[in-house]
């Protein structure tokens, strides 16, 4: 792993860190969802300051160079994150659907509170 990649990682981590702080101050990012990004920033710094980690894993997985492991790590983390976001969007979409439908039906035929599964079910 060369010095350039180390510098890029540190600068990248710094930018992400400033972005998180900026959005928290502007009340556009909740503390709960900032945790992932803080941890991600820390992991970038760890990889930058302790290249042994990248060497260890690239050796373990038979990856040609440690920098390739760094790329793989970042891609994998972001893919998982993206998948989780898709699930989150689906859930929000379903809740939004339900709210709009129930609001439309509220004055005509509100859901029967004794039956389950019908209406207001957030799963």
């Amino acid at each position: 792993m060369n010095l350039t990649l180390t510098i890029v990682l540190v600068i990248g981590a710094l930018i992400v860190f400033l972005g998180i702080v900026w959005k928290i101050r502007k009340a556009e990012l909740s503390i709960a969802s900032s945790v992932f990004w803080f941890l991600f920033t820390i992991s970038l710094l760890l990889l930058a300051f302790f290249p042994q980690i990248a060497y260890f894993f690239s050796h373990l997985f038979n990856i040609e160079s440690p920098s390739n492991f760094v790329f793989l790590y970042v891609i994998a983390v972001l893919l998982v994150r993206s998948f989780m976001d898709t699930i989150q969007i689906t859930k929000l979409h379903e809740k939004h659907n339900d709210i709009v439908q129930e609001q439309a039906l509220a004055s005509v035929c509100p859901p029967d509170p004794s039956s389950d599964g019908d209406g207001g079910d957030a799963k």
């Binding site: 379903e94 659907n97 439908q101 439309a104 039906l105 859901p111």
Partner: protein, 231 residues
Amino acid sequence: MNPHVLAIIPAYNEQDSIVSTMDSLKRHAPWVDCLIVDDGSTDATVAICQEHGFNYVSHATNLGLAGAFQTGMKYAHRKGYDYAIQFDADGQHDAQSIQAMLDAAVSNNANIVIGSRFVTVEKPKSARMAGSALLQAIIRLTTGQKVVDPTSGMRMYDAEMIEFFANAFDFGPEPDTIALLMRRGAKLVEVQVTMHERTAGKSYLTMSKSIMYMLSKSFSILFAQWFRGNK
């Protein structure tokens, strides 16, 4: 005892055609109750419904066809209807066909009746119908049954299907969900109906989206739907 039938009419910006559609329903199928589901229209659709005293409910935002259809199914379920039919607001569907579809549903004890364009009429071999033919072949492959007009938007559902659609997650009135329900044992029949060209307004599905639609529905039937649970 006559079965109670609800016509669910999803309407998104249908100010130019909703009145004639409702007139046609009242004239040709007066025994059918109607529910217009305004899907967050930005034109005068709601004002027209109020003015004419139509039975309607209104979405605060636009959910799309599947969301509007499900609102209608929730209504039908809660009001205890025996059958619900999805009826286009744009004048494509023919109110005179509803009786024949109901008769077919009752006499065959069917769960789903498709108002089909191609039971007695041969499907034209046009580019537009290539997608329909593809879906027909895929449904044949996966269910072993023949559905000649899988993309027809005119479908009637019985009380069992109404309850299912009212509570289901991510079940739009589409060919892929119909195919899944058939695989799970729903009984489907097709009845020949006449369909008209749109009289006004814009379709949910533009031509440019048609190819993507066919591809995603095909993939859905062949692959993705198999993994569903019971909800």
